[in-house]
Subunit: 360 residues, 4 copies
């Protein structure tokens, strides 16, 4: 309830500040008998790790994950899986100035107000993007649950610095091998130029991430308030820097007509199978319940707030001042946010699947 | 957990199918001492009532609300407020065909699959838009809670049938007096033409609704997973027909730069007041916590799935067939969805305020 | 969260005051395809109905239940089941005095304090035992879920007015046919005398109820905090007038030794069956998880607080005064509390079973 | 929901097995600005530490707690407080036999069944009493919250091995300084003899713990299902070995009469103060809401299941066999359970207080 727990039957509770001893979490509700090891989590964490790629911070964190519980002889036991990631490369002195000045675009002011002035200002404290590492580790566990029913989740950058990829060229499956976790090779050089230009302008960039979940069984999601879109939306919008989410044709659907937007049903491909669909404008859900088609979502990611130039702001006393943000910051949340969004998608779908299982 | 409850400290649980005896809900967690009467709920329900305006169904429902509990001598007592709305104008025979055929774009197939074939097919059953009346009634209660701290929530249609309203002309406050709950008079005649054309084409339309909440105190929303954006997103995406949601500049923010997108902080206007902001690209939130600026959201609404023309589909046995949907249907969820989205916003903000109160 | 909802996957939310229009509730999470009708609920409600037996109030309520939703063609659909029970026999004038005086042993003072003076004082308002009718109706639904796996729940009075039934004579199965829902015929005449004497003394009585659930599958209950004992304890202690609960040997176990208290395991009776136990000191649970043995609980019920004689108390202003409670009151919560406790047991066990199902 | 989280606004989620790397937990919802350090937790943990007193295991654990997050400059920040306690003194080889044999009175069989055979059998795994260390650490945080409003919680052993302390001699405040955390010096020698005798008999003992919370504000607890008794009962019954709980006169109240059991209200001691009560049979609650009087609870603790003698049981295949439990075990959960029960009481009361705060 106080906001650091996510999910119903599969529940993630996280902790940790950017410059504390460690960050981590507890995943409760993992079914027993699942093969799992630290490497499963580490592989995903490595995708999110800082210090890689042209948009990333110079802060290097090994981000080694240590599982504390819930495994025995290489398998889950149904009990909570706790994991820790130590904060090894803190340079808190970078942040001394932040004790008294609110950075524009950051949560400094809102946390200060919410928590009556008690705030770990170092690196954004709890509001730092660093907390998303715990989501990624937990998402890896959720992905293992989903792998049992062959659900696969892909995510990739489909737009960066305003430069998008045409839908026909989008290849999510190959994205992890590309710079920016891009959905196509065709944009890489233009995105490189955008990075170059942003660096010259002492500025930062945003983008759009597309997510696709395949082989999702029909019937997941709960009416009325916990539609799969609502739960996914909750999860994706809870990631810092996310300013919008849409499913299927999303905002374009608002401009379509019913006859064009409806996905017509087709006869099952084989006896006993579920019906198919002629199109997937809906993004894999009807009435908030999955159809068996691929779930498709797109997420808007704002530019990083830590722009390396002087900005106007106020201090704790409300006095106007300028701030020039030091520290080590990414130029964009793209691509490091990609595995985070994938993790949130996995957490929601695994949770929805366990919920549906309870019906027998 | 099974999806018919929404909220943490202010909780709405709803029930009811399109063609059952009644629909309604229970609102738990309303603070004591609030002046409240049925008229407060009825006024909002009347805005959503079918049978009004050019896009609405011919089904007429008085939608009279009856409060059962939680009030004494005109005031709330802190105990649950239950309310009922009778279904008076059911024409179930309209729906006989639906027992065996899945309507495209509807939840028929997904509910059938989720609930193992047990389904009230009349008028969409639980998946009918009719359930949103309970949200509107509850939202009126939430709005009364928020009125104590002067929070006002406006919502209006800013795009319909692909015809949008330029941002500079958007006037949310006057929307309820206009057809389509439009944000501007300037588009009415073109929207009328779009309706005319859609009727001629036996088709339906969608649109975009903008929401603005003013006077929201700074500090609402919970890190990490229950950011105000995540909770609002959850609530708004849980409304049928909603395919996307964005906050502040939303998807446009993804194309901006950090220097342009950051809202610079300004000195407080008076001693003791909170700092102000030069702009509101963020839509009233930073790090998922409200800033004290207006919360701004935009919601994509798909076209109504019940297009009045033959459509290809399958029956329960998976056999291809055609369906021509009879019954009485809206041409668009615009504008009846507007008070529903306003209600969900009120429920989330009132809940977030109670949560923040608990910190003392 | 504000306390009027119970359960995880099977959730009951109730509403209603003693002298409001109606009381009722919503049961969410009932699996689809279950045969259910109003009679199933009414049968249980009739067991709790006032105006029956020597200890009961003269207030007569038909307590007719009306199901509003969630059923179609005689079966559950997986959507919420709402039900209403009208308050038909209110004599609010009986309670005028209570507007300004706190009755000893009642919640008048605590509700007044909790809700800042806003309180429906008529008949105890929300704190009236009348709210338990909603529990009984919901418990009947839970019992139907459990009947699918042959779980049967019995409850009976095993002590009344200090006169107990020896363990060897306890017959829970036949209790509903006996006065006081007594666990044995042998005590009826002595209990009658106790009633007679209490009436002469203008006093009221309490007792102890024993509950037994048979055929409960092994494996229900959740570590660590939601042990089956904890969930049952929560449910049973949430019933007004309950002052204690114990499982198996309960408080006697505290006086035993490990060697005497341990239930030794026995070989399964047939191949593939679960092991048996030589005894059942534990009351059907180990480590908070069900063993497959019968669950056994005992519940302490305090005497009715509305004693028909003058009592010392204070008024709203804190001035000492006397109160002589009028109105129509039971002489004991025994036996009307028996179906209520049975209902709570059913709700907990059905919920725990759905939880376990989610593991696959 | 899967059972490893406790509380509403103050939430504890725990993890860890007896022989894993560590145990620990996350406390979410702690208000900001509270002075807190590891010593506050350690002091309570030291009371529960094994290897002290005549009834305790020979297993020695330093049980040093390490706080990972949520503190800054010695104060809470409102963000989750995670803490770890390493398992340093594991002798897993002691438990090899347990891989295939179910110990009587333990959760071996039920966990095996619940979790489909996947189980960390070393030292009871998750079902070990060792998990209660996390409760104690969290309870220390809750106690700090409560200290702000002067709530003090005492707990003591009032019965051990069947030898009780007369109510008139009960002194809870001095218990922590006595062996067995006894409520009186008068029983110590007899309890010593009981230990001696139990050791000779290769047997184990149980007892009863009394809890008292003073200065609890009136108005805490939520109707209808989350009465303070229900929430306390849930928390106390969730502790392993607890078989019963009662409030105020508890099971004795069932034998009383209304006129004797009612606590008459008295005029406030000073203007503006709340009314007082002539007695406290109710244990500090009416209608499930606190009265401002002391909360009094008594908890039945069963004898330790690990009796050091051969016992009859079955193995994984259902074959009868004998087991003689090795390892290092307490002779009684008394007194180490005392700080655990105190911790659970603190968690519930602090949660209830935050809930009440949300009403404004």
């Amino acid at each position: 309830m106080p906001g650091n727990t996510f999910g119903h039957l599969l529940r993630l509770t996280t902790f940790g500040e950017s410059h504390g001893l460690s960050i981590g979490g507890i995943v409760d509700g993992v079914p027993p008998g699942l093969e799992l090891c630290e490497k499963d989590l580490q592989r995903e964490l490595d995708l999110r790790k800082p210090g890689q790629g042209s948009t990333s911070t110079a802060r290097k964190e090994a981000d080694l994950v240590h599982i504390q519980s819930g495994l025995f002889q290489g398998k889950t036991t149904g009990t909570p899986i706790a994991f820790l990631i130590e904060n090894t490369n803190q340079q808190s002195s970078d942040y001394d100035e932040l004790a008294r000045v609110f950075r524009p675009g950051h949560a400094d002011f809102t946390y200060h107000t919410k928590y009556h002035g008690f705030r770990d200002y170092r690196g954004g404290g709890r509001a730092s993007g660093r907390e998303t590492a715990a989501r990624v580790a937990a998402g890896a566990i959720a992905a293992k649950i989903l792998a049992q029913i062959s659900v696969e989740i892909f995510a990739a950058s489909v737009e960066f610095g305003g430069i998008g990829i045409d839908n026909e060229f989008v290849d999510l499956a190959g994205a992890l091998a590309r710079p920016y976790f891009a959905a196509s090779d065709s944009v890489i050089s233009r995105w490189d130029q955008a990075v170059q230009k942003a660096r010259e302008n002492h500025d930062t960039l945003g983008g759009i991430v597309q997510i696709e979940a395949n082989n999702v069984p029909a019937g997941l999601g709960e009416p009325v308030f916990d539609k799969i879109s609502a739960m996914l939306g909750h999860g994706l919008l809870s990631v810092g820097a996310v300013k919008g989410v849409e499913f299927g044709d999303g905002f374009q659907a608002a401009r379509s007509t019913g006859s064009a937007n409806n996905d017509l049903l087709l006869a099952p491909k084989s006896a006993g199978a579920l019906p198919g669909f002629a199109t997937n404008h809906a993004g894999g859900m009807l009435g908030g319940i999955t159809t068996g088609q691929s779930i498709i979502a797109r997420v808007a990611v704002k530019p990083i707030a830590s722009v390396p130039r002087p900005q106007q702001t106020v201090d704790l006393d409300g006095h106007p001042c300028q701030i020039t943000i030091g520290g080590r910051h990414d130029l964009s949340a793209i691509p490091r946010i990609v595995p985070v969004l994938r993790a949130m998608t996995a957490l929601v779908l695994a949770d929805a699947w366990l919920m549906q299982n309870s019906l027998g």
